[in-house]
Symmetry: D2
Subunit: 312 residues, 4 copies
Amino acid sequence: MTCNVMSLTGSSCDMPGVHRFEHAELGVTDLEEATAFYTDVVGLIEIRDDGDCVYLGSGLDETFDIAIREGDTGIDHFAVRVADRDELERYKARLDDAGVDVKRDDGNEPGQTAGLRFDLPSGTRMELATVEDRRYQHSNEVHGDGRGGAAPMGVDHITLASHRVKDDATFLANHLDFSVSTAVTDDPDAEEWSGAFTRRGDYHHDVAFLPHPDPESTMHHISWEVKTVDHMKSFIDRINQHDVPLEFGIGRHYAGDNVFSYFQTPGGNRIELTAEMATVDPAADTEYLPFERALSAWGPVRPPESFQEDVS
Amino acid sequence: MTCNVMSLTGSSCDMPGVHRFEHAELGVTDLEEATAFYTDVVGLIEIRDDGDCVYLGSGLDETFDIAIREGDTGIDHFAVRVADRDELERYKARLDDAGVDVKRDDGNEPGQTAGLRFDLPSGTRMELATVEDRRYQHSNEVHGDGRGGAAPMGVDHITLASHRVKDDATFLANHLDFSVSTAVTDDPDAEEWSGAFTRRGDYHHDVAFLPHPDPESTMHHISWEVKTVDHMKSFIDRINQHDVPLEFGIGRHYAGDNVFSYFQTPGGNRIELTAEMATVDPAADTEYLPFERALSAWGPVRPPESFQEDVS
Amino acid sequence: MTCNVMSLTGSSCDMPGVHRFEHAELGVTDLEEATAFYTDVVGLIEIRDDGDCVYLGSGLDETFDIAIREGDTGIDHFAVRVADRDELERYKARLDDAGVDVKRDDGNEPGQTAGLRFDLPSGTRMELATVEDRRYQHSNEVHGDGRGGAAPMGVDHITLASHRVKDDATFLANHLDFSVSTAVTDDPDAEEWSGAFTRRGDYHHDVAFLPHPDPESTMHHISWEVKTVDHMKSFIDRINQHDVPLEFGIGRHYAGDNVFSYFQTPGGNRIELTAEMATVDPAADTEYLPFERALSAWGPVRPPESFQEDVS
Amino acid sequence: MTCNVMSLTGSSCDMPGVHRFEHAELGVTDLEEATAFYTDVVGLIEIRDDGDCVYLGSGLDETFDIAIREGDTGIDHFAVRVADRDELERYKARLDDAGVDVKRDDGNEPGQTAGLRFDLPSGTRMELATVEDRRYQHSNEVHGDGRGGAAPMGVDHITLASHRVKDDATFLANHLDFSVSTAVTDDPDAEEWSGAFTRRGDYHHDVAFLPHPDPESTMHHISWEVKTVDHMKSFIDRINQHDVPLEFGIGRHYAGDNVFSYFQTPGGNRIELTAEMATVDPAADTEYLPFERALSAWGPVRPPESFQEDVS
């Protein structure tokens, strides 16, 4: 691989930049209830409604952030954005070389131009995708109607529930140019970790993992970016006005330094709101942290018991 | 150049990531007055005092952000961070090939391990630097004593005053893997631009240019990151309490979408506070904008006349 | 007047407390356009639609904040809340004694239980009103459907355009127990003032006056409370997304210390967003300030020319 | 009592307005440690140092907020501001009539011009005080040196630990013109309450009570006003940088709607940070709430066990 074609108007190399968690397809227990929550309360916009699958976005660009479909909670697959088809082909070659079973999945999702799908070691399905709308989001411009005033900026990262945390994180590092920002463990050489936070771009994590004994479990939460803790507070007030309580927060994680709050949403699945995630030098070493420290920067906290449970 | 050594714990390739504006050395009309302002009022910490040069940082990491020295206002040089010595050597080779006069400058600044210095087409001196402290900044940890409560997170970007805007931006793109996020011009094919915003990482700009007829002018402003507009407001109140007025703002730029405010500081030089700068897809095309539009996202604004003047 | 009946659960005296600007009835050039702006963009809720008059509120209580009616811009009347009918009767007696022409206007507006109407010396019609819903606004509870996520907390104060500023302010002080927090003048003994800020409760101003030569002009702006400058920023982004530019701000006034921004709204009339208004000790003396100082706490600012014009 | 002297420039009646919690004198286990925390970390300014007693203020006016003295934690007395000496005399007469033992204490504290001291039914000593500096706090002006950038705006309210909650709240209502905004109880007619929130001005509470079985216990916490939840976050980061953890929060109370966080401070005693406290109509009825509801607006929360303990 070479990066010798430099141009004035675009980064010429396929190395990690802003590439990050792009979207996830989720199961919800009640499609109508979940759609109403995400549009009327959260203020997302509907990008496409296929009848059994509704595609929702922040409205700040034309890409969707989550697709919801009636069924078991958790994820069908999650996607990470890559720059273009060339980059996609190179990753396909690398995954093929590594013996990973890879399938093309092009153009079946709104705004996604091409995709590669494969399974993580824990079995969760991942996608690399290229998107049509690669512009940056001007804060004062919306695409489509209906973005609500307290709506998040878009998806920020996904935290998977995995029975093979270290294997999954290592897979991302070995084959897909992720770096491990933080490994949650008392012993860096332990066979398994209690969590892993991996990045492809500047932000501390795009895809994270928390341990779960059940091989069928897929997701701990999807995290949505809010601009500030004040925005977070307005969002919490907003969902409270519609009878959705806060599950855990407001606090600050130490792994990633992001300010957080968690909810269990109508129709199932947990979401996090996140603000102020740290950016990390590409050359920074992995940080090893015990769980309690990784969880909270502001001192010991007691998450509710539900927080450890599988609510996908 | 190849990127074939993938490792678990660090990005293995030297392409742009979080690399950004690292520091600048500034002239100030009164070293004592400027030092007092930056430490007592702004809340920066003193990293080193050489007698005639004071190195100041945010205290959230161990690197310095600005060095100030008594003399004419404006910059002696500004630096952009690169990952390591290997990357530095590769850029040296590329600049040598392009016939650019390059000098090594290693270890003369606190926390900087190696450096390359050369001139932009407009004559302003630039440095590529590697730093010792590449950790990410945990929000609740400080290094050294004295960080003030309203202090910025660190330097964010630098906006140079240039008599050759397009040449300078093209130089960064051709030799140093910057991308032009926004060119300020009514005509993309014009011989000169009225501004340029260039990035090496995810953020919309790390180094920007505004036009100035005087070849000796070097800088329009240094921009400091604040976390939120609320932090910005507290900072403005803080400097007002010490008799430094706001020059321009609070507004939102359209080029970069960052919320801004500007001041002229005791000892000379203009600073900007910035929050919420947009991140840009590596594959995004350059955006061409007229000046008035680039300046303000929220509608027409009238900057004070001083804003166009050379206060470096 | 005596205050000798003390009870456990309510303030026992009719003196000023939280009583403040309660509502205004406004003319708009296009009722449909204005209603769409206030509901779809601002996120107010419709309390009642009489066909030719639409009553709008924040949704955080059951009272309305503005009534809009097609016609000339400016106000038909504005209302200040008093505690109950007893207090209303006492003010009626005082105004009668002073020879002011007073009319009862009970129950004609939604949620208003009783009202007294009369003219200020400048001719602008004022109302004292009692309201049905005197509960305090729980931040996480809404009344009615449709409150938008960036909606303000409610009306904060009104700034009238007056050709008799000092007379109007003196009227409020002499007959209605307002205090003059700030008089805008270089000379406290001047026959006329360049502005006046009057309060009935803890906040620096509930009703303010700016000078205008035209006796027919009624209003400079209605001000809406936002919780924080971050909320203000989100609101500005929101209306920008619907093509309404910022007219002036974000800045901080010195008279009242409130953070401000101004807009001209679809259908006419100027609104202000305000946050962080100072509270004032009941025993504090009037502060006399020159106009430029009263206008801006953060240093000299240049409002656009439109800001001085009569846009009601 | 009559209110017949109306003047242009000041409130003419002595009824409650902005009057609120003015200061408290606290015991601390280590005076030097506590002083260092409040000045270096919190950013308060030292108003006077008597050797064994240090008076600290926000620096936004010239009054002090807390006096600290080495000894047992908890309060020696707390003070509520009244308008002037006339009002003080009237309260003296009312307390004398009610058989309360009252002592004058004039001019012994910096900036306090006159004072009345007496005991609440639970035994905690209270003061009514008049102050010299009754100006309102301009946000961009400081008095004295050293106010830190994350410092609070001043004290907001005090929450006493009482073994006679209902008696104490009733005393304030009967003799000192407080209103009970919220009583914490499942049964309004119960002989004792699980908490009470009382106000004298517009804000939901100035003096609150939580039950504690020990007659010697005096205080649950002193609450400091921060402007916004963003300011609160910066304050938490700030004290964390100096190794003081968060005890409980960030959450939103339902009784008062204020956003909160709690800490145990070096030298003893608990402080709260508070923002966005609701204002209440003087004529509003008392609200009766169960404890869990009063505690949290955002859903069920689990305070740490320490939160119920007597840390004064």
